[in-house]
């Protein structure tokens, strides 16, 4: 489940074992499900990134072929995406079996067979120093910090002061208040501030993935610790750098993908 959206973990677990005689899934349903699989380094869905090359449906058996921006993309990242595809599509109603096919990659064979045979990453890559989960965690921490930048900017835009922002906890944020607006409650609920919900929701999703539930403090410095008011500006600058890094790398990959695979991606 490494590369899947953690908020969806456990969903549809009952349909994991077989197709259960249900109708085969539509291509659209498969694409929708694949949106949950992300490129862990770029923090974006493999569907938006146009990595999905081909989807074949044969009754309750689905094959998903995907291609990455270069043949040298990190095997650990490729592995996360491959297992994500396998596990996400595998839990769709009507799917009994998923075959993943990584194309044009220097480790295509190891990754494709390893993931389809459900072998652990370390069995396919005995040389790898870190387990794939440790790599995933590091990338998630980076993505969390990058997303924090946008969430904090949204709160600043809404008029909150830095010392109010660093003191926020999860209970003060109501994401589902009103469509695309979240509400942040201040001063024991006597002041309710509407805020753009999307950056907050995206932040919270990634914060949960790295175990920052926000019970005590919603936001954290790069080490995961609470932010003191005096450190607010530095932490926000570091979060901005993390965002620029993720976006910058996204541009590099998008340009490579466009050049190698003729796929234009909006970056």
């Amino acid at each position: 489940m490494a590369a899947t959206d953690p908020t969806e973990a456990g969903d549809d677990a009952s349909s994991d074992e077989d197709g259960g005689g249900e109708a085969p899934p539509s291509r659209e349903a498969i694409v929708e499900r694949l949106r949950r699989v992300d490129d862990p380094e770029l923090d974006r869905s493999i569907v938006d990134l146009e990595y999905v090359d081909r989807i074949d449906v044969d009754g309750d058996r689905v094959t998903v072929a995907f291609v990455l921006p270069t043949a040298w993309c990190s095997p650990a990242f490729a592995w996360m995406m491959a297992t994500g595809i396998r596990d996400e599509v595998g839990t769709l109603p009507g799917v009994a079996d998923v075959t993943v096919d990584l194309r044009d990659h220097m480790h295509a064979e190891e990754i494709t067979s390893g993931v389809n045979e459900r072998r652990p990453f370390q069995a396919a890559f005995p040389d790898a120093e870190d387990g794939v989960d440790a790599v995933r965690h590091k990338l998630d921490e980076k993505a969390r910090l990058a997303r924090q930048h946008a969430a904090v900017e949204a709160l600043l835009d809404a008029g909150l002061a830095p010392e109010q922002i660093v003191a926020l906890d999860r209970a003060q944020v109501d994401l589902d208040a009103d469509g695309d607006r979240a509400v942040v409650s201040l001063r024991d609920g006597s002041v309710l501030v509407p805020v753009d919900a999307d950056p907050l929701a995206r932040y919270l999703e990634k914060a949960r993935a790295v175990g920052l539930a926000g019970d005590d403090h919603l936001f954290a410095d790069p080490a995961g610790d609470p932010i003191s008011p005096g450190a607010f500006e530095t932490v926000q600058a570091r979060a901005r750098a993390a965002r620029v890094n993720v976006d910058g790398q996204g541009s590099v990959c998008a340009a490579l993908h466009e050049s190698r695979n003729g796929t234009a991606v909006d970056d």
Binding site: T70, R238, A241, R260, D267
Partner: protein
């Protein structure tokens, strides 16, 4: 010499190679994949009309390189950064010795850097001494992700690496250029780690660490380390060509670098032949920050700033006297060959 709004810009291309990826030189499939990957980077960030064909790209040779840098490329001086890849290529991909063939022909135009690999132990230390004796090194390029037998790389903060860094101090080799760039190496080793530069830079304050490719995709870690360590610099190779087809992203990256490192610790490099200075130098010189980027970062990308990273900062690290060089280039072999002398004469008269 490049001219920007009537002003002379002395260009020291801080990152150039003379490589050989011809089929005859490839010893391991990794060698073929490596050059294919480079070619992907080349085509991804080169204007279509400037792209090379693969055969030229594999091995372009000395003559073309001189043409591309000096006749057409606005470059005044280049710094060779070797990349050995000895397991992948029979004679190496881009070794000090290969680079020396050209550097020794035009010593006034090139800085020739060496390299070391701490996994070579005593033999490696002797080789570094030998290189220094032969070429009087002022810098080394380090490729921590290089494969060597069963090893898939090494760290700059290891005991063995420290022995080599101490050797650099002893030999007076002051500039260390670790490659910390996009993932072209397999597996996850060091996939997003620039932390080893931090320890090395703290332990060797007498050395300068120019992190090539500004740590992309670890720009944020790199910036944070560089903000603490005054002897850490950023090499713009890979970031620079984004000015061509991702100008907004280039502006953001420059904003980060200027915010965290300041204008004195950034060095331009074309990464030739990954990209060519003839279009890259003008593209970077024309690049601007958007008003919101200027506002966000509180920095400006002025001509003065650009002149610094285009040449003055490298000159500082490599003890290059730009005015003396201009006088020399009024009549050196390259200027005579390409009839470039007058631009330096005019400049001296300024």
């Amino acid at each position: 010499m490049y001219t920007h709004n009537g002003e002379d810009v002395f260009v020291i291309d801080g990152h150039v190679h003379l490589w050989d990826a011809s089929e005859a030189n490839i010893a391991h499939e990794g060698g073929e994949q490596f050059i294919q990957c480079f070619y992907d980077y080349h085509t991804a960030f080169t204007p279509e009309e400037e792209q090379w064909d693969m055969e030229t790209y594999r091995k372009y040779g000395k003559e073309k390189m001189v043409d591309d840098l000096f006749r057409n490329g606005h470059v005044d001086m280049g710094i060779f950064q070797p990349t050995y890849l000895s397991d992948f290529y029979e004679e190496g991909f881009n070794t000090t010795e290969q680079n020396a063939e050209l550097a020794e022909e035009y010593p006034e135009r090139f800085v020739l850097n060496g390299s070391f690999d701490p996994r070579d132990g005593e033999e490696g230390l002797a080789y570094l001494e030998e290189l220094d004796e032969k070429y009087d090194l002022q810098g080394v390029k380090l490729y921590t992700a290089e494969w060597r037998g069963d090893s898939k790389g090494w760290r700059l903060d290891s005991e063995e690496a420290f022995e080599f860094l101490q050797k650099c101090v002893d030999l007076g080799i002051e500039n260390v250029h670790p490659h910390k760039g996009p993932t072209i190496r397999p597996l996850n080793k060091d996939a997003f780690d620039v932390a080893d530069v931090d320890d090395a830079a703290t332990s060797f304050p007498e050395l300068n660490f120019v992190v090539e490719h500004v740590g992309l995709p670890r720009l944020d870690d790199f910036c944070w380390i560089a903000a603490q360590e005054p002897n850490v610099y950023g090499g713009l190779a890979v970031a620079a060509p984004m000015a061509q087809n991702r100008p907004r992203k280039f502006g953001e990256i420059m904003g980060e670098l200027l915010y965290w490192l300041g204008e004195d610790r950034i060095l331009f490099g074309s990464d030739y032949a990954l990209w060519e200075p003839d279009w890259l130098v003008p593209t970077v010189m024309e690049a601007e920050l958007t008003p919101d980027q200027r506002d966000e970062y509180g920095v400006e990308l002025t001509t003065e700033v650009k002149k610094k990273f285009m040449g003055e900062n490298a000159a500082e690290l490599y003890d290059i006297d730009i005015e003396a060089k201009k006088a020399q280039f009024e009549d050196d072999a390259i200027s005579r060959e390409f009839d470039l002398g007058s631009q330096y004469v005019d400049s001296a008269a300024d």
